[in-house]
Symmetry: C2
DNA sequence: TATCATGCAATATATGATGTTACATGAAAC
DNA sequence: GTTTCATGTAACATCATATATTGCATGATA
């Protein structure tokens, strides 16, 4: 089962944006993330609509953070991505006529619903600012400096 | 993100097996589940190794439950399937050099780990017997009778 | 007006689950 | 014993879909 890395990717991009002094182009981000600029734009589209980032065309354009990092939780980012499916487990049939399958689905859904609530609550409790703090702590601990180009070069 | 329906499918099959009087062939199950006999055998392989079901070759052969339903939890079945990935969310990079990505991964993993614990505990608390009880309650409530062939005909 | 950057649709590629075929093994029926 | 039935498994085919790419339109700056 292939896993969806969009949330991970977007958070990564956002934190790098937060570190940058000016706007960063899709191309620069794409190079750093080893992917295509269009993929970056697709990822960011939801965040732009949600007002978390701002994009500018033309010379000197690119992407920039539009909100205080402390005001955006992982849950917000997740929602801005369209609240993608959290679980890899699914049902064989969504609306089964078979009563056995209904019972199975009900049991699984019950557990999944609770886990989903827990997970989203956790996401809601973590802000981008908190991630940034953690990142800076790691930077101090490692003694390394960082910038988008050099860190993602290797 | 495509979802893995193996757990759902196996549970469905197991409960039907429990209702059956004698061994059920892969072909019969496959017809009921609208899939291929080989797929059924693949699903059941882990359960056979775990000792939850028994298979017999030749005339009158097929699959049968080998354990008391009360002694098998959803967690056991999940493990017998090889403990497949629970979450659709993953990391962009598993062992990133980038400290930003490390911080992101750590935050996500933290939340996911707790959700996983909750989910597996829930699975551990539900036995096949409980599912069977629920199924019979549904059958009474609906007034319908059931058997493998007729229920899955349409 | 030439260049740079996003916006977006359409298409291509890659990956992995699911489905299928083929054949070997073993058990029961005849 | 030989025929039939069923599982066991590997190899292969298909299909779904996430990801990547291409192409072109739009708008902003030099």
């Amino acid at each position: 089962m292939k896993r969806d890395s969009r949330l991970s990717g977007v958070l990564h991009v956002l934190l790098h944006l937060a570190e940058a002094s000016g706007p960063v182009t899709s191309e620069a981000m794409a190079k750093a993330m080893q992917t295509n600029p269009v993929v970056i734009r697709r990822l960011m589209a939801g965040l732009r609509e949600a007002g978390f980032v701002h994009s500018e065309k033309g010379h000197g354009g690119g992407w920039a953070i539009a909100r205080d990092l402390a005001s955006v939780s992982l849950r917000d980012v997740y929602d801005a991505l369209g609240a993608p499916e959290l679980f890899a487990l699914g049902h064989r049939t969504e609306a089964p006529g078979c009563l056995v399958e209904q019972a199975v689905n009900a049991a699984l859904d019950d557990a999944l619903r609770d886990a989903e609530t827990l997970l989203l609550d956790r996401f809601g409790a973590v802000t981008l600012a908190a991630l940034s703090v953690d990142f800076h702590a790691r930077m101090v601990a490692s003694g390394k400096s960082i910038d988008l180009e050099t860190v993602h070069a290797g």
